[in-house]
């Protein structure tokens, strides 16, 4: 009897809740239609519904969130470098071991660029449109376009995102990226590369809501052999990416020696 009354009371509360909810704007998660199921093989005009926000997660022995403890925390290089670049990375790691707050281009609020933007913890919004896949990283709101079955631009001067051309192989989006700057890093550890870096990226939904991101990096100036990193992204139905303006209130400037500072006072004149 007691349980029966409770059930009636709960049902009534639930009903009130439902009626109330129906009058309000539905929560974001409920307002979004489920992802459309599209069967491979895919093409520039018949493509999977990967649009939305993806979180980067750990994958195997390659943590994509290796930057959680700050820039320059991973010690060994996973890349077989040419001597000059091996020495450059070793010099950086020596500073890290000495506890020096090193700075990367990203520290000065420059874009992460490719491929670093694939590895920062900040989520990625993907937009799938005919002939184009657009990725917007929450970090800095920086975007890149992948032209699907369309020609590369004739001129590909060095840029942060580079120039990307994609095509579908069955269920996999294969992307060639060229025209990258030589002064960005591969990830938050400061792994260097040259302006000869090219990428072959492979994107595949290995199970529902899990995207495998495999990137083979070739850089004959800096690497002795190609390096491949495989990570995973998870679809987040109820996430949006938010504004991130690095210069809004950056209290970690870089000094003349290339070291990162922390400004304690809001008014430096105080």
């Amino acid at each position: 009897m007691q349980a029966g009354k409770l059930a009636v009371a709960l049902s009534a509360m639930l009903l009130v809740g439902v009626v109330h909810a129906a009058q309000e704007t539905p929560p974001l998660e409920d307002a979004r239609p489920p992802r459309v199921q599209v069967s491979p093989p895919y093409s520039a005009t018949h493509f999977p519904d990967w649009s939305g926000v993806w979180a980067k997660v750990r994958s195997g022995d390659v943590p994509v969130d290796e930057d959680t403890k700050g820039v320059g925390t991973r010690q060994p290089s996973p890349i077989d470098y040419q001597p000059e670049y091996a020495a450059r990375y070793e010099a950086l790691q020596e500073k890290v071991r000495q506890g020096i707050p090193i700075a990367l281009p990203a520290t000065e609020c420059l874009p992460l660029g490719m491929p670093y933007m694939l590895y920062t913890l900040y989520p990625m919004q993907v937009m799938m449109t005919p002939g184009m896949v657009t990725m917007i990283t929450e970090y800095g709101g920086f975007h890149r376009n992948i032209h699907v079955d369309r020609p590369m631009p004739e001129d590909t001067p060095p840029s942060y995102a580079g120039y990307s051309r994609g095509h579908w192989e069955g269920d996999t989006l294969v992307v060639k990226t060229v025209g990258l700057r030589g002064d960005t890093t591969i990830d938050a550890n400061g792994l260097p590369h040259s302006d000869a870096l090219t990428l072959t990226e492979r994107y595949r939904e290995i199970r529902p809501d899990t995207l495998e991101v495999s990137v083979t990096m070739e850089d004959p100036k800096a690497f002795r052999k190609p390096y491949t990193r495989v990570t995973q992204w998870k679809f987040q139905r109820d996430w949006v990416i938010n504004e991130y303006v690095c210069l809004e209130n950056n209290r970690n400037p870089v000094d003349a020696d290339g070291n990162t500072l922390a400004i304690l006072t809001t008014n430096p004149g105080d």
Binding site: A55, K56, V57, D65, D67, T68, K69, G70, V71, G72, V96, G99, I100, P101, I102, A103, L104, A106, T107, C109, T120, L121, Y122, P123, E138, Y139, A188, D209, K234, F235, Q236, R237, W239, I241, N242, E243, Y244, V245, C246, E248, N249, N250, R251, N252, T260, L261, A262, L264, T265, T266
Partner: protein, 129 residues
């Protein structure tokens, strides 16, 4: 008492600092320090939030601490809103202090007046598996 509870709760938190846009080597990651005081200012801004806390020492002198947290973008995914931290409220902040000895640190966790403890904004820990 409050301090011991906080110590017990700490292992439950993920040991992550703010996601990198810069090195955190100006802070001493080997030292965990807890300060208690009153929030004087909250800068809910990118690339990192800053919380200023007035801490009264045993000698009665007040020192203003500046605590650097994660990005608002990460913090909202860990349960914060832009209004969670309020000037005038008394909080306990666990941090890695500056190596320089100046009153500043890198946020590890913060305990609010209602006992809620929130993290630093590091890690995509609320991602759906």
């Amino acid at each position: 008492m409050r301090k011991s509870i906080l110590v017990l709760a700490l292992p439950l938190l993920l040991p992550v600092a703010a996601p990198a846009h810069h090195s955190f080597a100006m802070f001493d990651a080997s030292v965990k320090e807890t300060i208690s005081g009153v929030i004087t200012e909250v800068q809910w801004t990118n690339p990192h939030i800053w919380i200023h806390v007035n801490v009264t020492g045993e000698d009665g002198k007040v020192a203003e601490w500046a605590v650097e947290g994660g990005s608002p973008n990460m913090l909202v995914r860990q349960g914060y809103t832009s209004k969670t931290l309020k000037p005038g409220e008394r909080v306990s902040v666990t941090l890695n202090p500056l190596k320089s000895g100046e009153p500043g640190g890198s946020l590890i966790s913060i305990q609010l007046p209602d006992g809620t403890t929130l993290g630093s904004g590091g890690g995509a820990i609320t991602a759906r598996p």
